[in-house]
Symmetry: C2
Subunit: 334 residues, 2 copies
DNA sequence: TTCCTGCCATACATCGTTGCAGACCCCAGC
DNA sequence: GCTGGGGTCTGCAACGATGTATGGCAGGAA
């Protein structure tokens, strides 16, 4: 069996509790004793049993991350950064893929997943604020993204609306007047899709360009959907001189479909996306997009969550953080 | 506090152990008793404390996954599939990013990470078979990828050499004679880079085409490295009519650089990759590559690991699994 | 009746750690 | 010499579950 505290205690000639005290940096221990214990630990190769510690202390030093699909590039990059930020603070991240299924999201909030972790980073897609509030235990929860805007919750988000507006304005100033939007989620207003669509409309208004619903293509946020959406527009005879993909995957799918069909980008149709995933820089033509300050999002959300867990952040209402953004102008929409 | 078994026992009017027995499907329980316990569980909303169970039973129902970087598309897609395969068997996956740092890899093998999990899926990059063997505890370990070929370990891999040879042969049969290879790792022979390079050389031999070391560009496996490698070849005055990126990220970086410099693909230079990440299909031109049977890899490796953990697979030596592959011929190298 | 066997339920110890309360020692102050 | 208090260390209980051993009760065999 593994070496336990008891073995260390025996080897060092002290009580089990003293070993515990050394490990937990208890103040009043004679340097000599401390040294003896540490020597014994080193000699026996003792490692604390995290499960037992967890049972006793009620803390697991693990954070939960709930997102729809880790294979989506944006989430993959985000998860990677979140894990590094957590690691710097002594935490691990346990990931749960919801596949955008409501039941999975609900279970993540109250089921075993919640129990295993000290706090949750949650990207709600299918459930609303009340469903979350009803299941909100005593453990900290930080929402990621913008599906829920509710002052009850901590939230780390990005300037979706402003960024989408800025990007749209950029397309407009380049002379584009019929900008197709793909990836809208009909009926949704508070989510990323809704906010970005809002930004788009505001920029149009600002420029005095009429909004044409025919230019809006609703679909999920994957490359193949982007391609299909563009195909649909072209085959439907809808005229457009630019495509705004509500995320990069969509925009890259759209770009691919346009090129296949012999549409010249950006000459005939400009293409822009949102997220600035690594892939965007290396597309051909490279993709104009919005860089949402992912590092800031990762750092702030982990920071906030850990502060809540360790009791450094105690404000009653939700803390709302909005990360900055940067327009990345590249070849697809110069 | 949370509801415990004791509360359930009291509510159902049975002993704590009987509740435990109901939960663990013990055979001899009167249906009426069982029902009473289940009612109490439902009424109180009892959920088993996984930490306590874990401490007592020594099993956590978690698998560890060690890889270099979750934001690399291949690993992201693989991790996503592994997590789903694990979930089907009642396990969760805890991911550790090694950043290809030897110390992190070593710690994952014996440190707290190992302790938290019932078994490990490990992609060794910086450490060798002996280092692994020296730290191999009693918990199951399945190696992923090919850095280590050693009959002591369970290993799930792909047909790197055959696939690379098949891809190279395809380029040769298309009339390409000077095929640049990017992403080689000098001095390495057993890793993915080494094996794929081997396959390349074998195909050349087979076709009677001489091997030219000037065509081999060593670098890490990211998009920017691929771009830089191609830039280096072009600026070094090396002539080539095809580029074989040892993974897709490299190939896509290379493709981007070629197009930027006005090289026509595939007319002047064909480009091929390895991995068939989703992005490959949507590149422009779409990328010819090798689909390594990722679903098979995910399913088999999780299956093997869980079988080891649950004692269904007990063979002494290492089980070696080699997944099939498929050539995906697309526009970049028709 | 007595004993045994099969079914059902229980008590107790245990996993490895931490929180709480207290024991002990030593020195300063009265 | 006694008291008080700060520093140093210890013992016991507890976290919430499971394994082992065993206790009862029914019904059938002797």
């Amino acid at each position: 069996m593994a070496v336990t505290m008891n073995d260390v205690a025996r080897a060092a000639g002290v009580s089990l509790k003293t070993v515990s005290n050394v490990l937990n940096d208890y103040e009043f221990i004679r340097p000599a004793t401390k040294q003896r214990v540490q020597d014994a630990i080193a000699e026996l190769g003792y490692e604390a049993n995290l499960t037992a510690r967890s049972l006793r202390s009620g803390k697991s030093k693990m954070l939960g991350l709930v997102l729809s699909d880790l294979s989506a590039p944006y989430y993959a990059e985000l998860a990677s950064r979140l894990m590094k930020a957590a690691s710097r603070r002594g935490y691990r991240v346990l990931v749960e893929q919801s596949d955008a299924v409501a039941d999975v999201e609900l279970n993540a909030l109250q089921g075993p997943f919640r129990q295993l972790t000290d706090g949750l980073l949650f990207t709600p897609l299918m459930i609303d604020a009340d469903a979350i509030a009803a299941r909100l235990g005593r453990k900290p929860l930080v929402l990621l993204g913008e599906h829920i805007l509710d002052s009850r919750f901590d939230l780390v988000t990005m300037k979706n609306e402003e960024a989408a507006a800025a990007l749209t304005a950029r397309l407009l100033s380049g002379g584009r007047r019929r900008i197709a939007v793909i990836g809208a989620h009909s009926g949704e207003s508070a989510g990323s899709a809704g906010l970005r669509l809002n930004g788009y409309r505001k920029a149009l208004d600002q420029a005095g360009v009429p909004f044409d619903p025919a230019l809006v293509a609703p679909c999920q946020w994957r490359r193949d959907n982007g391609a299909a959406a563009v195909a649909g527009l072209l085959e439907g005879g809808v005229e457009f001189d630019a495509v705004f993909g509500l995320n990069d995957a969509l925009a890259l799918g759209a770009l691919h479909e346009l090129l296949i069909r012999g549409v010249r980008v950006p000459r005939e149709v400009a293409v822009a996306g949102f997220d600035d995933i690594d892939e965007a820089r290396f597309a051909s033509p490279s993709l104009t997009t919005v860089a949402p300050g992912m590092e800031e999002i990762a750092e702030r959300s982990i920071g906030l969550l850990v502060d809540r867990i360790e009791g450094r952040e105690t404000s009653g209402g939700g803390v709302q953080v909005e990360a900055g953004f940067l327009l990345q102008v590249r070849e697809s929409a110069p």
